[in-house]
Symmetry: C2
Subunit: 167 residues, 2 copies
DNA sequence: CAAGATTGAGAGGTCAATCTTC
DNA sequence: GAAGATTGACCTCTCAATCTTG
């Protein structure tokens, strides 16, 4: 009495081959680039990728400072994560925490001179790796086409200065 | 004696605007899509994204089974992570572990009928979300152009069946 | 009571060390 | 000795609960 009516469930509404390629390519490229980038930054002994992303966000802000909550929003991190990372960066002297005169609830994370130095040093490795691993094989026109497609796929993903919550 | 020679370090070899856009777009799109995808899958109560990626890898393998180490390689996960995830999936009845007759060191992770059901259920949400969040606003030609660019940026990222170690 | 920040608990992930089998 | 799998230690990150200030 083998298998009278054992139909296995089949894949619902499967991806087309172009859908599959665009999805797989995004996942793999992102994974490969960020892993290798992290590895190189840590090998340099300068900054981890996570710390880099915090400092690069601060350096672009007016006064090189941001409220913890704003830093969390821009980096898509949970506020509690920012609390702990900034605490460590402060112990390392790369960031300081200052209170906000106009709102005593708010804490400002401020990039220090030492933090700026470290960031600049890390950027050599960072930019080099991103170019070698990802951007380097593309022409400038390719890069433009690619970012246009990403923007078309998810409006705002390239253009928006401050990242909005998803919904 | 303020600031006699305080020149702040400037950004070394900065990205062009197209480089910046292609890099920022990749990071943000990936982050937004995977976060929201994970949220929806968990909200469904069917599978997490991590579990999904394990089951989808098994379902495509011959006999719906893979050695733990091969599973780790294909998912770009550390073997120790696979050990613990598969142990939990086995407790939940979605995967079973079998020994390999031809090599007593090897453990095979095998997708169960229950695991296949859960995977198929999750795929409805998964495919729907990936299309809504990422692929849906692109034409089929756009998707092809995009995956071609990803493949050009990192050869093998789309085409390679089994993922090679980076170096 | 809402918003900003922090804390404790717990999941997801890596690395180094170990154990078994080739 | 090297490869496959596992364990313990540790880091990253999120969520729920709490504390303080608007």
């Amino acid at each position: 009495m083998a298998n009278t009516s054992s139909q296995e469930p089949t894949e619902p509404d499967a991806f087309t081959s172009a859908e599959f390629a665009a999805w797989r390519g995004l996942l793999r490229l992102h994974s490969m680039v960020t892993r290798e980038l992290e590895r190189r930054l840590v090998a340099d002994g300068v900054l981890s990728l996570g710390d880099y992303s915090i400092l690069i966000t601060l350096v672009g802000a007016p006064g090189r400072r941001l409220a913890m909550s704003e830093l969390a929003r821009r980096r898509l991190l949970h506020p509690s994560r920012v609390t702990r990372v900034v605490a460590r960066l402060e112990r390392e002297g790369l960031v300081s925490r200052e209170s906000d005169d106009s709102d005593a609830r708010s804490v400002q994370a401020v990039l220090t001179a030492k933090g700026l130095e470290r960031l600049r040093a890390a950027q050599v490795t960072h930019h080099g790796a991103v170019r070698e691993l990802y951007l380097g094989r593309l022409t400038e026109a390719d890069r433009q086409t690619l970012s246009d497609l990403l923007e078309k796929a998810m409006p705002g993903v390239v253009s928006a200065d401050v990242w909005p919550p998803y919904e």
